[in-house]
Amino acid sequence: MAIYLDNNATTALNQQVLDVMLPFMRRVCGNPSSLHRFGRLQRDAIEQAREQVAKLAGAQADQVIFTSGGTESNNLILRGLSACAGRVQKKKPVKRIAVSTIEHMSVLKPAQALFDKVDYIAVDAQGYVNQQNLEQVLDTDTGLVSVMTANNETGVIQSLVPLIHCCRQRGILFHTDATQAAGKIALNFIADGIHAMTLSAHKIYGPAGVGALIVDQTVPLNAIQFGGSQEKSQRAGTENVAAIAGFGKAAEMASEGLLQRQTHTRQLCILLEQGLKKIPAVTIFAEQADRLPNTVQFAVAGFEGESLLMQLDRKAIAVSSGSACSSGKTQPSHVLQAMHIPDDIALAAIRVSFGENNTVAEVETLLNVLHEIINANRRSPVMMAASL
């Protein structure tokens, strides 16, 4: 049986979530916009899921817009405020935006494509954005700031409250991509005063192909997809009912099982890090930072990350170097570069991300296999040369 340690890329659909989805795939047919009884049943399921997702985010149900996933949610908030959106609302478009240098590509790319000016908020060596860094880049015409709740590669958790405070004082909107944080740490959309938050289902044992944007009613958001009045006209398109119902269930389970999941995966992280420290020349990234209780990113000096990944795969262990979306490229991670990690170490990065199904035995297997590979290669003259 293979060992899956890439839960930040995607998670296995939970059986109970699948059970909730199946009736909508199998027995219940209907378009939620249809007025007949087939349609009404679908509408009820969507509204229930909206409550469940809202609860996970610490928000209200009427603040939830369902989308096709995290990428669409990030694009919706950025494009929906930019000059590229249709102006249904009277408010002026945002022309200048500030984002942290460690954001996911689905924030960085639309920021570059849609705004006149993008300012980048630096992070320190531990991957933290601090208030000072933020204040330095904010200008009078900055309209939106986007800083992720937790990073997908390093797992570093930002302390958002001072950043939000700083934006609110200046009347600037604050968005956070909580795709990786959801289900791993508590989210407080309303209590923290966040204007918009991105969530994805397939990172919390829900189905791929569904996500949400949580938006405060004061945000003058414009639609980016047109052709029907679904989601209060903010997101046209027939709702993916089975997936939305599954997202709801996954969110409910994430809320209720949060502590248990945290305890379980944190224990695995601690065990892994203890083992890694016995290997010479290992770096654990952002080791001093507050990190997600499931993510450990590290490097073994002298071992090119991609080749180590392949060797682990041959031993039936699935890990990654960082973001799945950019897997396959051999450029150093932009996140590690932003933390001023030298390129040769960054290229050696391996990310282990645990999930609820992983076990202590699997961590031990990983450590043993790592030892084997490293010892074998360190004996070979080529690797010796590489590690010098």
Binding site: R27, C29, E72, K109, G209, F226, S321
Partner: protein, 422 residues
């Protein structure tokens, strides 16, 4: 799941075993997922499945998911005569239409800012065009002929120097008429206009051979063809290469044209649905045509009953009928045991008369009294028989209550009456 909802689902499932369940004749709104499709999807759902992220390149979980996605891409391409590399996955036909129209218009805006479409398009096309108007584009909305088809001369006459894009649906969602997209496409080619076709309602219902059709962009849906909701595709021709501007940016999936994690189970489901359609389309069409004709023959002898849209150049499963002097919404309510619609599902929350029927020149009365029946894979002859019975009795009952019907029967020309304002 709340007790109420699961109870309702169980009730509905139980009902489906007995003969008085509501008869589903709204296959153009959405179709049930074919059980064979569900079986394929389940291989990619759940803890024991192949659940990797297709973009994960460092392990076999990712590779297996990617292989499944590529097989589905091939299945979809095969049904419509395309190359798999020409198929881009989206979250549905609405996104495909948005991406095709806005993406193409934005990419080509330096060449011109004029777009041609028709008044009977789906909202996803019309609203994308309205958005482009807000951005400074000009759009010509063509009136169709009375039978719902576009007059080729009218189309040609609408072309201007600065026309960059035309969007015409293959099959209309309300009246089921089939446009001559080959002829319209040829006119577009002659005039170097990018041609987009919304094929959400035609894929799997009529032959599509993109290798020989002059079409640059074509939208597809999963849930209109017995596949899952939340998945669609856009055909983007490669030779010569058609360029569009991405509407969603991020990880660069789908060759940069559409970022976002690919939903493997959804894509596999859509692929299987297209594979089945390719195998069964011919036999299914013959069966549906018979049922459709039976339905129409069962009501056409009633007084003041009209078919909307051309009866011959039309997909097999669709019939759209106006029952004059009967209000459509009342008829829908009276037909509680029949799941049908008075138009498109996307606009059914509004009580406005169908804009499609208005565009055909139907007056408000007839547009208001229309019902769309769309039959599909699981429609039975017995259901058609029962539908005819329900329908005849409901129409007769409602007409008995209608003062307009009395006046009509008394021989009063309703158009000559001057209604008093009040």
């Amino acid at each position: 799941m709340s007790k109420q909802i699961s109870q309702a689902i169980d009730n509905q499932a139980a009902n489906s075993q007995i003969s008085d369940r509501p008869i589903y004749m709204d296959y153009s709104a959405t179709t049930p997922i074919d059980e064979r499709v569900v079986t394929e999807m389940l291989k990619y759902m759940g803890p024991a499945s192949t659940f990797g992220n297709p973009a994960s390149r460092s392990h076999s979980y990712g590779w297996e998911a990617e292989a499944a996605v590529e097989q589905a891409r091939k299945n979809i391409a095969d049904l419509v005569g395309a190359n798999p590399k020409e198929i881009i996955f989206t979250s549905g036909a609405t996104e495909s239409d948005n991406l095709a129209i806005k993406g193409s218009a934005h990419f080509n805006q330096k060449r011109g800012k004029h777009i041609i479409t028709s008044k009977t398009e789906h909202k996803a096309v019309l609203d994308s065009c309205r958005q482009l108007e807000r951005e400074g584009f000009e759009v010509t909305y063509l009136d169709p002929m009375e039978n719902g088809l576009i007059d080729l001369d009218v189309f040609s006459n609408a072309i201007r120097e600065d026309t960059i894009l035309a969007s015409v649906m293959h099959v209309n969602n309300e009246i089921g008429v089939i446009q001559d997209i080959a002829a319209i496409g040829n006119i577009c080619r002659e005039n170097k206009i990018v041609f987009h076709v919304d094929a959400a309602q035609s894929a799997g219902k009529i032959e599509i051979d993109l290798a020989n059709l002059p079409v640059d962009l074509m939208s597809f849906s999963g849930h209109k063809i017995y596949g899952p909701k939340g998945i669609g595709a856009l055909y983007v021709q490669r030779k010569p290469r058609v360029r569009i501007e991405a509407q969603m940016h991020g990880g660069g999936q789908e060759r940069g044209m559409r970022s976002g994690t690919l939903a493997t189970h959804q894509i596999v489901g859509m692929g299987e649905a297209f594979r089945i359609a390719r195998q069964e389309m011919k036999a299914e069409n013959e069966r549906l045509l018979e049922l459709r004709n039976k339905l129409w023959n069962g009501v056409k002898d009633m007084e003041e009953v009209y078919v909307n849209g051309d009866l011959n150049q039309r997909v097999a499963g669709n019939i759209n009928i106006s029952f004059n002097f009967v209000e459509g919404e009342s008829l829908l309510m009276a037909l509680k045991d029949l799941a049908v619609s008075s138009g498109s599902a996307c606009t059914s929350a509004s009580l406005e008369p169908s804009y499609v029927l208005r565009a055909l020149g139907r007056n408000d009365e007839l547009a208001h009294s229309s019902i769309r029946f769309t039959l599909g894979r699981y429609t039975t002859e017995d259901e058609v028989d029962r539908a005819i019975k329900h329908l005849r009795s409901a129409v007769e009952k409602l007409r008995q209550l209608s003062p307009l019907w009395d006046m009509y029967k008394a021989g009063i020309d309703l158009d000559s009456i001057e209604w008093a304002a009040h």
